[in-house]
């Protein structure tokens, strides 16, 4: 039994999961039982895939030893590209394809510049953050085009599906993509290469792993997931505002770290990123339902986020320190 507890505590994502369960319990009580209500879950689970998909991409990239601060801007650029093309007469699917190509190109540029010139990805992607946001405004002329919702296959992305219409189709996309990414990271050579590249780069290179290509691939996946998530949000809200996704990059990094991903690369899991993103959404949502004074709202969100990371680290430390008879 003790052995199982020790193993569980040492797994970063399980420690985060424990915290998530505690917070859900606390918020359910402080909100007089509304937190887990059908209406609230429906709203929470509708928003979650958008942030969690970004967190999945950022987590993968961080395990590979790099950062991407441009995800918030790419989150806005992809749907804006799609909307502008659709207003120009393009069909939905070709417009989405071009939008995803733009994301892939941005990911490639981020990775290429970072590796070719040996620049910290923090700087490369910070520059891209501004450039992509600016492009979003430029291509729309400052005024977001109106999406013609009748030309969009809502059933495929945003319609409510499942038992009691609790989930949106986007949630199924998110689950499918997260499972695929977890499989990619945990069960394939590519996953091993990602961990080795992020864990100890010289050793990975010495082993003949194509580290440059691995990193560029991770940058591209990260950008494409951010763009796809942005598209889902715009389809859900019906409006490609150029300001969407501002600040999302920091939330995504926070989600990855809360979920146990190392800032130095090599360590982490997709499940951890997903749990981290869920934790952030739960904190935000729970604060509202607990009717925290609006002036204290950001303070509470920030404090709980720090608490989540500190508690996570503490639990892992306790797990490592536990003595188990062999």
């Amino acid at each position: 039994m003790m052995r199982l507890i020790k193993l569980a505590l040492q797994k970063p994502e399980l420690a985060a999961l424990l915290l998530l369960a505690i917070l859900i319990g606390v918020f359910h009580i402080t909100s007089n039982g509304f937190f887990l209500s059908y209406a609230n879950m429906r709203g929470l689970l509708g928003f979650l895939p958008e942030m969690a998909l970004v967190a999945v991409g950022v987590t993968l990239l961080m395990i590979c030893g790099e950062f991407d601060l441009s995800v918030g801007s790419v989150f806005a650029l992809m749907p804006m590209t799609m909307a502008v093309l659709m207003v120009a007469g393009w069909g939905f699917l070709p417009a989405v394809a071009i939008g995803m190509l733009v994301c892939a190109a941005i990911g490639f540029i981020n990775g290429f510049l970072t590796i070719k010139f040996g620049i910290p990805s923090f700087i490369t992607t910070l520059g891209m953050l501004f450039m992509a946001r600016s492009m979003t405004v430029v291509i729309s002329g400052g005024f977001p085009p109106r999406l013609q919702m009748d030309r969009i296959p809502e059933q495929l992305f945003i319609a409510f599906v499942g038992p009691g219409d609790l989930l949106r189709a986007s949630f199924l996309w998110f689950v499918g993509i997260a499972l695929f990414m977890a499989f990619l990271l945990g069960k394939t050579n590519f996953g091993n290469w990602v961990r080795a590249t992020g864990g100890f780069l010289p050793a990975a290179q010495a082993m003949g792993i194509p580290t440059a290509r691995v990193k560029i691939a991770c940058f591209m996946i990260c950008s494409m997931l951010a763009g796809f998530a942005g598209m889902i949000q715009v389809l859900r809200l019906g409006s490609p505002l150029p300001s969407i996704g501002e600040g999302l990059e920091l939330q995504a990094v926070a989600a990855a770290v809360i979920g146990g991903t190392s800032l130095f690369g090599g360590v982490g899991s997709i499940l951890g990123g997903v749990i981290g993103a869920t934790l952030i959404r739960v904190i935000d949502n729970g604060m509202v339902l607990s009717q925290v004074d609006s002036n204290w709202f950001k303070f509470a969100v920030g404090a709980l986020t720090i608490l989540a990371v500190v508690a996570n680290a503490w639990l892992r430390k306790r797990g490592r320190a536990m003595k188990v008879e062999t």
Partner: protein, 321 residues
């Protein structure tokens, strides 16, 4: 006779176009991705084109950053412009630099957001924009016509940007009205709550949506921006009929007008962003050419209802309303 004609021509020339193109800089607290400010920019650019002025609007990189706005103003003043147009989102931070600009002979007009004390609190020569407190009051008053005849009134006020004049003042205006409403209706239970609603469509939808799920007896939600358009979608998703939860807010961006057409938003206050960009340029032009002093312009407490929505949609999509 010839002399009189020459004098008249010279006078006309001096009125119709200054000797050199006017140099006008517009600094404010918002980033380029803010749709509202793009409409202000359109008015500003159109105004500048009309009078052949050399103009530049400088956005901040971070939404709402007063420090960046100050840095932009410093840079703009270094090139000695004829006029600086600026939002005054803080009651003290911009006092010194505006005074310095005035001392250097630069025309300074406050736009969009003014010092809470008006001319007494800042050296700007005039203010072109909306009075936020009365605008919030007008919004509350207009929406109260849609309140149910009986039963308690539960109101939620979403403060989009806690601590910023524009948002706090609009919210305070709504709450002032609700206080008066409660006093005028002593037999009815009136509850008002405020929430940090945010300035992102998805965040506001999530937060207010969560609140409404936990408080289904809410009568009305007032947003201090246009982000309640996202709340309207949440209500539609939940199968809640238009009018069951009353929605009202500010600015006629296409998203909000669309939800007015759908019936979810009953009242919207228009502050005419295009006019906020256009009119200060005209004031600078008149000041420089014929010496007219810039004057305050209230760009609107205009209440817009769904009946006006169709006519407004086209103008709104073009950034003219």
């Amino acid at each position: 006779m010839k002399l009189k004609l020459l004098a008249a021509a010279a006078m006309l020339a001096s009125v119709s176009a200054p000797a050199l193109a006017l140099d006008i800089v517009f600094t404010h607290h918002s980033s380029a991705s803010n749709t509202f400010w793009q409409a202000v920019k359109k008015g500003f650019d159109d105004g500048c084109e009309r009078v052949d002025a050399d103009c530049q609007m400088i956005f901040t990189q971070t939404e709402g950053s007063v420090q960046e706005q100050l840095a932009n103003m410093e840079a703009a003043l270094a090139r000695e412009p004829d006029a600086v147009l600026t939002s005054i989102v803080d009651n003290t931070a911009l006092d010194e630099i505006v005074q310095r600009a005035r001392d250097a002979g630069v025309i300074v007009i406050g736009v969009n957001v003014d010092d809470l004390e008006g001319a007494a609190g800042n050296a700007r020569q005039a203010f072109v924009g909306q009075g936020f407190l009365p605008a919030g009051y007008s919004l509350g008053e207009a929406q109260s016509a849609n309140f149910p005849d009986e039963g308690p009134i539960n109101v939620l006020v979403g403060i989009s940007a806690p601590g910023q004049n524009w948002s706090e003042q609009r919210g305070a205006g709504v709450m002032n009205f609700m206080e008066e409403y409660a006093a005028a209706n002593p037999n009815r239970e009136v509850n008002v709550e405020r929430i940090d609603s945010g300035t992102d469509l998805a965040t506001v939808s999530d937060r207010v949506g969560a609140y409404l799920a936990a408080n289904p007896e809410t009568t009305a939600y007032f947003d201090t921006g246009f982000w309640h358009a996202g709340v309207a979608r949440v209500l539609a998703d939940r199968g809640i009929e238009p009018g069951e939860v009353l929605l009202g807010g500010f600015d006629l961006v296409p998203e909000a007008v669309e939800q007015m057409q759908a019936g979810y938003i009953q009242v919207q206050v228009d502050q005419q962003p295009y006019m906020q960009g256009f009119m200060p340029v005209m004031q600078v032009y008149l000041s420089k050419t014929i010496g007219l002093a810039p004057a305050d312009i209230d760009t609107g407490q205009g209440i817009v209802t769904p009946a006006d929505a169709d006519a407004i949609m086209d103008l709104s999509a073009q950034g003219l309303r």
